[in-house]
Amino acid sequence: MEYTILILILPLLTFLALGLLGTRLKPGVAGCIGSLSLAICALLAYMTAWEYFSMPRVEGVRVPVIPFNFEWLRFTQYLHIDLGILLDPISVMMLVVITTVSLMVHVYSLGYMHGERGFQRYYAFLSLFSFSMLGLVVATNIFQMYIFWELVGVSSYLLIGFYYTKPEAVAASKKAFIVTRFADLGFLIGILLLSFYTKTFSFELLTSGDTSLFAGAAGTTFMGCSVMSWAMALIFMGGAGKSAMFPLHIWLPDAMEGPTPVSALIHAATMVVAGVYLVARLFPVYYFEAPEVLVLIAVVGAVTSLYAAIVACVQTDIKRVLAFSTISQIGFMMVALGVSGMEGHEGLGYMASMFHLFTHAMFKALLFLGAGAIIHAVHSNEMSHMGGLRKYLPVTHITFLVACLAISGIPPFSGFFSKDEILAATFMFSPVLGVVMSFIAALTAFYMFRLYYNIFWGKESEHEHTPHEAPKAMTLPLIFLAVVTLFAGFIPFGKFVSSNGMEYIIHLDWSVAITSIIVAVVSIAIATWFYKNTNPIPDRLASTFSGLHRAAYKRFYMDELYLFITKRIIFNYISRPIAWFDRHVIDGAMNGLAAMSQWASYSIRGLQSGQIQQYAYVILLGSLLILVLVLLTM
């Protein structure tokens, strides 16, 4: 499977070509090059998946394959940074997800971004992102992952700020970068701690279950927790930043300032699940070395999920609703990982999390691309400017409905299967958590159908011109993703991906499944009652619980809290004194040094006289001086 290296090289070359040639290419040509190269990547990824999954199991376990490895930097005998490709069930699955969604977004953007300024730049960045994301998932070691992790962050920054003339977009891109960078600081410290004690970066070694690796860390504690717990919690902090877990979620809603296809690719399907992927990648380490961190992950996931679901119920910008729904769904995946065990039936959570990651990527990309088509038609993100669009946008309407049903967990759509597995896993772990997660699932169904009815039903608002269906380049990806969403649930996912590499037989837990279906149907019914036709109840409810409504609308004042902490406390009491010290003491010393050098330079200029006799003297005297010094110090 040596050709897998091409999956990385192609997007990189495309990025370089589009980035360097830039405006010399016609926009259409640039778009086609980008899409074509991604199409080849997708084909290669499918081939890789086919070949990998048809390989025989060794003692019932799917073994990882490393078709390419290159030692890049060697620090010590054990510690070295490699660049390579690691194929195992989850990385192969991610290859398929990323290339598929990315290809859809590439094709979709041909229509959506048509006529935009910087079209070539857009495709160059998309290629850069695809390269970084693919490099992240196939990383053979945690340091390589970190490198690509940062590259993904950069490309996300570049794409959020694509409309760099818009102040909101610039602010959003900076916010995303700074918040995730802050989280990555934890990630880096975690990596350093982990590698310091285990003397390796390699995922293969770390997850091999070899407990002797961690022997060095045994007994070392810090503030009551073992050092491994600290390391793994810090690594999770990096993942929480990228995956927008509470309280590091604040960047994701703002990131919606980027072009909508970018939101679909980066902020719904691929990059934001990197944190989930990271936890899944290191799952054995979490499970064996830091089980208390897994509980933390579950709690963070549940809190995030609940918080985001509540906020999503009252947002009016359709992309924000989808953003919060993404946060909430990633919370589901985190919870599933947090409650998962390792062997046999215990490993349900792990499998469910990966399954949900897969199905969610497809239907959430579909929702975002659908939202793009709607925005394309009405030139607004606000729900109040929509309504009654089902007549004008039939394809978008149907595909959007499919995605809404999927995310709400209605069979036979894919979301039902994966979400049901997650609920079953949480019930197995703790009934309380199961009830909470079911409640969130109900909220999910409610806010998604609130969105759906507000867009496609209800009172038609006044349009400047009649909305029209999007071009083929945009509707084809919608249809493709809708078909995937329809059938992905029937994939016997446990055959491919499981916590210990053994085959996991999925069987529906009917008691959980039926409850969740009933809950979803009831929620949808309420949403239908509230929003299908104009109905005064929602407004009345909003004014009755005006405090709660306002707080939820303002996202529970999380952004304000951040601003207060940074601007009022950190800037005033920490940054200002440091800035003063820097400006007066450090700069002063440097300026002094500079002035001294200038003065010295000025005062020695006479030494260079231009007379050759003097040069000879200096050579002779210099050598004699050296000789005398050597003789004296002997």
Binding site: W72, L73, A594, S597, Q598, A600, S601, Y602, I604, R605, Q608, G610, I612, Q614, Y615, A616, V618, I619, L620, L621, G622, S623, L625, I626, L627, L629, V630, L631, T633, M634
Partner: protein, 473 residues
């Protein structure tokens, strides 16, 4: 011993062949056919480089007078590449009417000095070394004075030959003292005879002057700015990289091989010479206006950095040194390539003349910027890695204070390198140097240098490959 011994000196023989072919062509070629002199010289040099690209195995001939190591062979390859780049950059200057008629001489004299450096590198005996040193330096004076009708060029030639003779004289005196106290001139036999007596220390110090002069280390550096300024720009480029690179390598080889018993003494000497070279040269460089003088001081301080690889006395230091020379050569040649073409097209040579160069010649400005960043040691350019390796080698041997001083000086050097970049990119000018297009030779050489600067640092294999030869010294 027989004539078969000559055949062992493959690299030297091949270079002599190139010189002879060019000589015959220059003498007997009709004016019309001489039009192709430049491309043919470059092609021949290119073939010579390619044939010997991969380092040859260890060879000893003439009873040990000639001793070639794989590392030395690698060094010769680096010098070959540098010479080829200088040839390419020289074409523009040589094509003017004053020098056109003497064009062949330039190539032959340059190659003659290169031959001298070959012998210096492969010497196994002090006499052989001295002959190589002189073969490399006497023709160099004629190169410096190549534009003999220009007063500055003639002055440069005179200053070079006088200083060189003086330094060589001291060096030869030192060698004679070595012979007097040890009774041999063979590198292999000398260490056994070295006792560290004062007279041997004196011998060592005087010997050191000869190579210190070539490297333009303080206090043997004062000829450098005058000669660099006066000599034709391509010759300055050649002086600053090829001549210096070979001297650095030879000094290291002799210190490691011959003066091993005096290791404490020569480390102490180098310690102070390095500090003086880097610091003084940097202080002088701060105030220079003429770019060639500016680069003269820059090259003095770079020589100090190169010595950091020598002082460590380890295989890592040696690898670092060869790598440093390679990177320094590419960076400096890129800078001199730009200076040469700008000087040729506009006659301008001071830093202020470069104001606003970016607006008219953006590509040249970029090459210059990359070169200066690399010289200053800014990542991700190769210069950062070369400095890093050399600092690491010195720090490994416990020279922390020295490395710290060198680091401080790097900051200082950043100031004056950035001055040039600021002039090109930020300063505005009423009349910037007019837009012009370079000839293809210059273009190729600049592209090659830039590619080297950009790639050498990232491709860790280059450094590792050099490392595999370092034990063959």
């Amino acid at each position: 011993m027989g004539y078969a011994n000559f055949l062992l000196m493959k690299e030297e023989i091949s270079l002599v062949a190139v010189i002879v072919i060019l000589l015959i062509y220059d003498i007997f070629g009709t004016p019309k056919s001489l039009k192709y002199f430049q491309p043919i010289a470059c092609i021949l040099m290119g073939i010579h480089t390619l044939v010997h690209l991969y380092p040859a195995a260890e060879v000893s001939a003439f009873g040990g007078m000639y001793h070639s190591t794989p590392m030395g062979s690698l060094m010769k390859t680096i010098l070959n590449i540098g010479t080829l780049l200088v040839f390419m950059q020289a074409s523009n200057w040589l094509a003017n009417e004053r020098t056109l008629i003497r064009r062949g001489e330039f190539y032959m004299i340059t190659l003659a000095t290169l031959l001298g450096m070959y012998f210096m590198i492969s010497a196994g005996n002090f006499l052989m070394f001295f002959i190589g040193l002189e073969t490399a330096s006497i023709p160099m004076a004629t190169l410096a004075a190549f534009d003999k009708y220009k007063q500055k060029s003639a002055e440069a030639g005179a200053k070079y030959i006088l200083s060189a003779v003086f330094a060589s004289g001291l060096s030869l005196y030192g060698i004679s003292l070595i012979y007097g106290t040890t009774g041999t001139l063979y590198f292999e036999d000398i260490p056994a005879g070295i006792t560290g007596s004062p007279i041997q220390l004196m011998a060592f110090v005087f010997f050191f002057v000869g190579l210190g002069f070539k490297l333009s280390l303080v206090p043997f550096h004062q000829w450098t700015p005058d000669v660099y300024e006066g000599a034709p720009t391509s010759v300055t480029a050649y002086l600053s990289v090829i001549s210096k690179g070979s001297a650095a390598f030879v000094l290291m080889a002799i210190l490691y091989k011959v003066f091993t018993p005096l290791v404490n003494e020569w480390q102490a000497i180098l310690y102070w010479v390095i500090i003086a070279s880097i610091t003084l040269a940097n202080l002088f460089a701060l105030r220079q206006q003429n770019l060639k003088r500016f680069f003269a001081y820059s090259s003095i301080s770079q020589a100090g950095y190169i010595m950091l690889g020598v002082i460590s006395g380890t295989a890592m230091g040696m690898t670092g040194l060869v790598y440093y020379v390679l990177v320094y050569m590419l960076s400096n040649l890129a800078a001199f390539g730009v200076i040469a073409i700008v000087e040729h097209r506009s006659g301008k040579i001071t830093i202020d003349d470069y104001n606003g160069l970016y607006t008219t010649n953006p590509r040249l400005s970029f090459v210059m910027m990359i070169a200066l960043f690399s010289l200053a040691g800014i990542p991700p350019f190769a210069g950062f890695f070369s400095k890093f390796f050399i600092f690491a080698a010195a720090a490994q041997q416990g020279f922390y204070v020295l490395v710290f001083i060198a680091l401080l000086n790097t900051i200082l050097s950043l100031y004056y390198y950035l001055r040039v970049i600021k002039a090109m990119f930020i300063n505005k000018s009423e009349e910037p140097i007019a837009k012009f297009s370079s000839d293809n030779y210059t273009r190729i050489s600049l592209v090659a240098c830039s590619a080297g600067i950009l790639l050498l640092g990232i491709l860790s294999t280059v450094y590792e490959n050099i490392g595999t030869f370092s034990f063959g010294l």
